[in-house]
Symmetry: C2
Subunit: 157 residues, 2 copies
DNA sequence: TTGATATCATTTGCATACGAATGAATTTTT
DNA sequence: AAAAATTCATTCGTATGCAAATGATATCAA
């Protein structure tokens, strides 16, 4: 069998032997790409259940409910947002009367953030919906798969 | 044992029996929150390896390498970006000479996108780095865990 | 054919997200 | 205490990401 008789399929196999990876990079199989899509899907589910708040805004309120009054920076650390991002989120929550700001008496650099009564009402009301969001996001998995997935995902976060 | 003698721990247990979930919502255990953090970590790893391109920009180039010339909208579908987002990404790639645009001869609505020679060089050069990025992102997992995780993640995306 | 729909692209507005630079206040070091 | 380093917050610039509105073109249906 001469070289000219080699089928295209077999030629590709030969090439693969010589250059193992060069040609078989598939974007849709990369963690980063799928992670981005999974996140997109979750945000979409979130928006369908909670229309008037974004996930980062919800995270800020939920965390303030947990820890009570904290500095803006500290809150950012707790919800994995850098200083510039958290400022915007808090500004918008403040504009809507869900949080209130005050200056730290001792350390004048710090800006304290806390829930308002309205903010507390809102987060209490939304938490049941957030449970639904988590459930719907994980719906494609069985109960056992959920446990496995959460364990592995946590390792990557 | 009178009520006053109930320890705080046991009191909490009693409360939990009466109100199963009301108080134990933990943001850091929710899929959405961890998904967001995992994505953040990946983007950070990406930036450490490929400084001059963002993940969406890389995705556009990688997909164009796969499929060749396509319409802007079609490309957006392939890399999971809506029309408004893909436009910005393509505009920036065009400004850097990595892609070129042309009008579809038959369907005058369509804007065709393709790699330039420079864009092709760039993506070929970057793909090995992208493999490293994927590897580093998944580094906290064993080989078996990677297989499991990718299977489950794909179900959620 | 024409009238209703659908598709492609663009634009606007809003909300993350983060690097980098800056200024104010605090803490550490010398 | 004075100098150096750190921390907290803000601002600026750039880049997604998406909903909604718009205009141009194509397709479908009556």
């Amino acid at each position: 069998m001469g070289l000219a008789a080699v089928s295209e399929e077999n030629l590709l196999k030969l090439v693969e032997v010589e250059e193992p990876d060069e040609n078989d990079y598939h974007l849709q199989e990369q963690v980063g790409f799928i992670l981005r899509k999974a996140h997109q899907r979750h945000v979409s589910i979130f928006a369908a259940h909670i229309a008037d708040l974004t996930p980062p805004q919800f995270a800020a309120l939920a965390k303030l409910r947990d820890v009570g009054e904290t500095s803006q920076n500290q809150l950012g650390t707790l919800i994995a947002m850098d200083a510039a991002t958290v400022k915007g989120v808090i500004d918008r929550l403040k504009a809507r009367g869900l949080v209130e700001l005050s200056k730290h008496e001792v350390d004048k650099r710090r800006l304290l953030v806390n829930l308002t009564a309205q903010g507390r009402d809102a987060i209490e009301r939304l938490i049941p919906l957030a449970r639904d969001i988590t459930e719907e996001t994980l719906a494609p998995l069985s109960q056992k798969e959920v446990a496995t997935f959460m364990k592995l995902l946590a390792k990557l976060a």
